[in-house]
Amino acid sequence: MLDKAIDKNIEIVNSAFEDWGDIVKRKLYIGENKDRAVFICYIDDMANRTLIEGSVLKGLMVGIRLTDTSDYSISSLLDGGITTADIKYSDNIYEAIDEVMAGNSMLLIDGYDKAVVISTKGFPKRGVDKPENEIAVQGPKEAFAESIRINTVLIRRRIRDTNLKCKQMKIGRRSKTDIAVMYLKGTVREDILAEVIKRLENVDIDAVLDSGYIEQYIEDSKTSPFPLVQLTERPDKAAAEILEGRVAVVVDNSPFVMLVPVVLASFYQASEDYYQRWEIMSFVRIIRYLAGFFAFALPGLYIAVTLYQPSMIAGELAFKLAGARATVPIPTIAEVIFMELAFEALREAGIRLPSSVGSTLGIVGGIIIGQAAVEAGLVSPMVVIIVALTGICSFAVPNIALVSAYRLVKYIVIALSAVLGLFGWFLGVILVITHLCSLKSFGIPYIYPFAAAKGVKELRDSIIRAPLNKMKQTIFNKGRR
């Protein structure tokens, strides 16, 4: 609650912002007789100083300087003194302090038991840039930025519909991070929306520094390596998914927007799939699915076949494989695991280094060290090919979170293949599929539409991308139920 006596309120504000070197506070007297005290407070450089000076201070100090404010109503005072539309009133001083910390300005008026919060956010922020992770040959080149408002605007620009709703909330006891839940009313399934909001409201955390924090709190399974929330940096993708009936969660300070619910097939979809002809993109999708499968299954298959079922392979190929391995002193399993781990290390190093050095490291690691290892007889050329092929396959999947899960699962399949041969490889694949079947995202089976679909029509945006006019309903739509 606020007190009518301004000094008591100022005392609370001063105590809250004690030792804040970057806070700007000023008490001034307005009106003809300078008999009405007002107090303004904002954080330097988080608030737009020009806006404050031009639309608030100038109005209060100059605009109403000849007015007798003693019997002047507060609303008239604000109408005359503040020339910006975006203001709100708060009857809780601590809420108003939170607003100051979010970049807004707080105006306290003597004799008035409400704080006026003026929207003056103006902190430095990165503008709209090009996407770095979800690159598309055809389609928009805009990516989300760190500012929640830029991100919601980027989505709104694409869906000019009054049904595009944006529910805002704050999460984080200390960070009080702004979260916007965007959805298309009438299209979204109400049960899913309610569940999303419920889970967001239940997040109990000190600070949200990126959308990844929220992701880990709201996902269905905490023990699965597979992503159960989709992150995107492309506004066109977020808009498309909202139109499909999914919910977008925009987190302040994060350039990634979360999309829920999610199914495995979503991770194989890229924005440009819908910008090009369906025949071509269906072919590309098939390649992606095959690549995704080999990204976790290929090394295990190689071990199983070479160690346990060499007679399965055609004679000439088997001889070539055996010949290539003849001089290698270490067992196949150790060879594959060593190369896989080396590849992982190279990949990790390549990500952390600056792009110019990263690409050089890729060349040095991939070609020179690989070649040297083969020539030294430490690894067979076939293993280098298998590991490289596995790596390429993982890059063909357009989602890094899914690829990371495959990278982990690959070692389980390798272990089973090493112990039980081809039978172990089959068991590994069955276990992975069983695990995928057991996952759900906000009540939606993760494996949809390959299972739990109501008909073949729902498969139209999965392995095959059907013509746009044929794709209307999915499990996310309200129409599905």
Partner: protein, 366 residues
């Protein structure tokens, strides 16, 4: 263990995979053993009979308002007899799973070139089945939807590739066996449609049962047709005497079919995949159904029930001295126990429901 509801379509896919899981290997072998070349006729008649019988079973279950099999037993026979029935069901299902595991492991270690211990294969397969069973009915339903088409496609592909390598005259002459022999063979083959009783156990958890009868009949027909095709191909490829002498003639047939334009010299690996997936479904169904019955009957935790059933199944599988004995025990278990569980009890339940209906009518008249 999740007991979420599953759709009629998923039940249909599950039933197909549970039937063909081991049946596509065993039914042709039984048919040739009992009726020689008339095995094809036997499989066709048994399939049609099983389809009709499945419709009857669904009808019977509907008479009990979709209650599960053991609730129906409790209603009809009382508490203690129904408990005995449940215990019998658990015992026969666990034994079946164990012998099935052993037969699978024996056939697999024969074709695998590496020296993998039998127990390792059995334990690994059992754990895989346990994992799926632990995930519950809904997950198994989804798995079935995913695996059904690829599995059928691979089997169909192998059959198409193999058909040109056989001699059609091996199919003739037909109808040489006596009517008694044919009937006996039909009944024995009919027992192998035992997964129909799993539908009865799952009745309360099936969503939208309006199409259940149709879907179950289709599942039985698909499985039967597949077994008939596999029988035909094995027969025309090996001839009746050789087919009869082999323990797993169907597997041998599938290994020997040469796939065109393939860099795979021998497709044991591919066949191993089909066989593994099939047994995985059979096993997970057996473990799941015995697990939920043990949970309800003994009041133990579902995880504990599943683990106990799995451990007992693995040990039961290790008991026979060799694969042939395990196969013999497997066939005997199904023949003896399914006679009771697939036929006697459902028919008595049906009769009881009719009598109960008449009694109610009589009371209403009074």
């Amino acid at each position: 263990m999740s007991n979420d509801k599953i759709s009629a379509r998923q039940i249909c896919a599950l039933t197909v995979l549970e039937i063909i899981g081991v049946d596509f290997v065993i039914i042709p072998q039984l048919a040739i053993g009992l009726a020689w070349r008339d095995g094809l006729t036997v499989i066709i008649i048994a399939t049609l009979a099983a389809a009709a019988y499945s419709a009857f079973l669904i009808n019977m279950a509907e008479k009990y308002q979709g209650a599960d099999f053991f609730d129906c037993c409790r209603n009809a026979f009382g508490n203690f007899p129904s408990r005995l029935i449940v215990w019998g069901f658990i015992a026969k299902t666990v034994l079946f799973a164990g012998f099935c595991l052993r037969v699978f492991a024996e056939s697999l270690t024969d074709i695998m070139e590496g020296d993998i211990p039998l127990f390792a294969v059995m334990a690994a397969m059992a754990l895989c089945g346990l994992y799926a069973a632990y995930k519950g009915r809904e997950v198994r339903g989804r798995l079935a939807e995913i695996f059904l088409l690829p599995l059928l496609a691979v089997i169909a592909f192998v059959l198409i590739c193999g058909v040109s390598e056989g001699r059609a005259d091996e199919l003739l002459p037909v109808l040489e066996e006596s009517g008694f022999n044919l009937s006996k063979a039909v009944i024995v083959v009919l027992f192998w449609f035992y997964p129909l009783e799993y539908i009865l156990v799952s009745m309360p958890y099936i969503k939208d049962r309006t199409s259940l009868r149709k879907k179950t009949v289709s599942a039985v027909l698909i499985s039967g047709v597949l077994c008939a095709l596999v029988f035909t191909l094995t027969l025309i490829r090996f001839g009746a005497p050789q087919m009869r002498s082999l323990t797993f003639s169907v597997l041998e047939m599938m290994y020997s079919v040469s796939l065109p334009a393939s860099f795979i010299e021998r497709q044991e690996g591919l066949m191993m995949g089909i066989w593994t997936v099939g047994v995985f479904f059979t096993l997970s169904a057996a473990l799941y159904n015995s697990g939920i019955c043990a949970e309800e009957s003994f009041g133990i935790n579902s995880k504990a029930a599943l683990v106990i059933c799995t451990v007992v199944a693995v040990f039961a599988g290790l008991l026979p001295e060799n694969g042939d004995r395990a196969y013999y025990y497997l066939v005997s278990t199904v023949t003896v126990m399914e006679c009771i569980y697939l036929f006697v009890i459902p028919i008595v339940l049906f009769a009881a429901s009719i009598l109960e209906g008449r009694k109610n009518e009589g009371r209403n008249m009074d």
